[in-house]
Symmetry: D2
Subunit: 277 residues, 4 copies
């Protein structure tokens, strides 16, 4: 359970008291006061085994609790495994990395479908027994393809979209309808927002490049950052070397961020994230 | 308050319940289950303001609680600032760094005295208004100088020793009498234990060197590790370059470790540490 | 061309003079004086286009030059692409990573065959159209299987072996007969040589773990180090987390080291390497 | 000697030929082709001992050589030690770090004077026997104080200015008259250019912060980058923690960059730097 509310005295006591009063055994408890923002964040994990309330009742009481505190709560049951759609274009490195991690039991998620505006990565999905929907981009009118995408998400009962080097921009309207999206951006945000970050990094002559995994919001590349990784470069690196080195750091940032998300270790508030690792 | 005990259900509830029942408002709570070791670790910070027990009574009840749980507890009051003796030989980088951090309010500690087997760093201490005890080493019989050291620690009411490049080995007997010691070792332990780690790192041809801040135990260089830092090296680096680069990473590892210790974020168990940052 | 010889005045002049006198245009020149070892290392790359000597004659003259200088030279033509056999056991992460990099043109090598003491990774190789030789280990007598391996290397005209998590120890006799081997060891050498490094790292309570890619010599885990990578760990990480985090850093160290090797950027001398990147 | 010119065949031969023809023994030679920019960069170091030309003649011939190649050359004699003025405001960490490194023979430079718009760091300079010029800022008209600064630079025969947390912006006119300036900016440029980078990094919720040492040009924070360092942060870090962690990474980036500069390992071209380390 994750709770965010304005800070005030006694919040830890109140939360742990509620769990104890229903015979819950707390497995993990992590609290954080963001003094700059005046917010209190709490992440609690407890055994349902022996707990005196059923899932529906837990849900109801927690929403009420959050309401009373003027905050918001999110409840997850660890036996509910998220269904994830991975979006790709032509580059394979993040896709292969994620599918391998799922196969290798590093990541608790089900990937029933990969959606792409190109046919290039179809074979990889076949090898991993994942459906592949080829939905080519139409730059004149996004609304048709986005409708197809939404239908596909619906059909596969998708909980989360991962943009694993999907080189299309989703419309604000789409994000409104399906707001649960993680993206990997190939720069150390907020540096080099937008297109061709490696070319611009090379031109600027930076000594480190990075990758940023973030939640997607209406403001392009401005969503809450989950994880960032960097790699050293030198004057000997041409743009294609930046792109090559970038791939290694991109797949790592995305995998780390997604893992945090899947383990419900990420809390979003005021455009930022807290990572309870 | 820090508590370590064998893991069992209900421990979080029990601890937070005890605090709540005496009207304590929990400010920070961090718990950890070490499944490999079967241990439960808890770090709790609460306001004494309004708490229904006085310091003495808190002490008594917490010791009893720990006892009941078959564990150990440590209690600190945040208004009690540790008195630290820094031990040095000839190298100044860690000493200057620490004194500057104290002056700059980065570290909550009082440094009334620096102890050294050389006179080289006396002037630096004068600049920072810190007493300097020159206690030259006697390699034939350590016991005399160690007696002098213990007297000095006593005289200055020292809580903690920091070995900031003190190039003498303290005897097991000394460590027995004053066990609260942090050391900085100039290698990435357990690699290159013992003498001349940079020379041996150069000979071995490693591509990274490191520094390790650890608690001192009877087993040389085998005490619980608090922090480790590393720095890249290349074939262009000679031994003196390793030593130079090493200084930067040594002072950082020591400062980070000491800060964790001073904020009571370190818990030691089974030869390892948990850092509640 | 790579040359290693005892240092003396005028070596750079002599080498570049020889190339210039045969109308060679130097593309890259990198020299290094290892003062600690008293050695001079040089790496020169020049266009054969317009060069007045043929390949055979170049070979002859360079060997003679090296001989005169009391050193050793190695000559490579950039249009000769090495044939590499990858050895694996059950873990797939390094294998998939390398095959993907070859496919993605990151690495100039041909992988005609994968050799394994298990059948687990056969399917992956099929997907990449790479032959798979299942040669089960015989712990009583390695000599039979090693003979089979040598025959396979011969049959596929292999230039280099990459041990990509091959959990068998090759005999000194084998290494003698085929000395061109790169291994990935799952620790930050020289820490945790030998078996189960992650378990021992966890027990020791280190705060960083690493991986080391090195050339294999008769002395187990003591060969010249090519690359090392590290990753941070905390007390929250159990042994299986170290293993998981370790996989990411292992595949990176191996890929980086192999890339250096394939681009002939590595020079080995006195048990160490110089990396001309 | 550093040379930058448009790339063409035979440049390495030509340079090393010129040195050899005057009996020079090349100690270090490093060349780089920047294919993206179509430029050739060369750094050559040779013994003057036994060289057949005197300093004046070397200067003349090298300028002519560079001219013929349509490029630019820079000549330094390693026995000429740069005279550096350090500019500070109220923060001491970079100043103390640099003065300590000079004292410790890590940096070959002479610091005859520190210039500041505040009196705070006067005592530190006294301890290191460095003159301190208090030249308070006048925000209405910079020209007067900048005239005083230029006079001071002249008086102390300064070769290089290091802005070590000098919280004033130098006018384009000043930079025009004294263009040899290194600055430390407290962000990972080009992210968070301008004022209060740590506050903005905290608000944006980045997971890494950095520092950038760069040459100062007319375009604020857009000069050629010499070195960048980073440090991890978490949601637990408030703005003051970013500032504290930032200090450690700032002083490191500045010291590394300055060392590269002093060893003449930095070449600037097209707004970027090549570091021949």
């Amino acid at each position: 359970m994750q709770l965010i509310c304005p800070d005030r005295p006694g919040l830890v006591n109140r939360l742990s008291g509620w769990i104890a009063s229903h015979d819950g055994n707390i497995r993990h408890a992590d609290h954080h006061r963001d003094e700059g923002a005046g917010m209190f964040l709490s992440r609690l994990e407890w055994d349902l085994n022996g707990f005196s309330l059923d899932r529906e009742e837990i849900h109801k009481q927690i929403l009420q609790l959050a309401n009373n505190l003027g905050g918001k709560a999110q409840l997850n049951f660890s036996d509910e495994i998220p269904r994830v759609a991975i979006f790709v274009s032509k580059q394979s490195h993040c896709l292969i990395d994620l599918l391998w991690r799922v196969n290798n039991q590093e990541m608790k998620m089900i990937v029933p479908v990969v959606i792409s505006n190109h046919r290039d990565l179809q074979n990889i999905c076949k090898q991993y027994n994942v459906d592949y929907k080829y939905l080519p981009a139409n730059n004149l009118d996004k609304s048709f393809v986005e409708k197809d995408i939404l239908n596909t998400l619906n059909e596969y009962k998708i909980d989360l979209i991962v943009l694993a080097k999907y080189m299309q921009i989703l419309s604000p309207n789409f994000i409104n309808q399906f707001p649960n999206i993680i993206n990997i951006h190939h720069s150390f945000l907020p540096a080099f927002k937008g297109a061709k970050p490696y070319h611009r990094a090379w031109e600027r002559g930076v000594k480190l490049i990075g990758a940023t995994a973030h939640y997607v919001t209406q403001d392009l590349d401005d969503g809450p950052i989950i994880d960032q990784t960097i790699v050293h470069i030198s004057h000997r690196d041409e743009v294609e070397d930046l792109i090559r080195k970038g791939r290694d750091t991109e797949r790592l940032a995305l995998a780390r961020a997604l893992r945090f998300h899947l383990r419900r270790q990420v809390m979003v508030y005021q455009g930022r994230t807290a990572i309870f690792d």
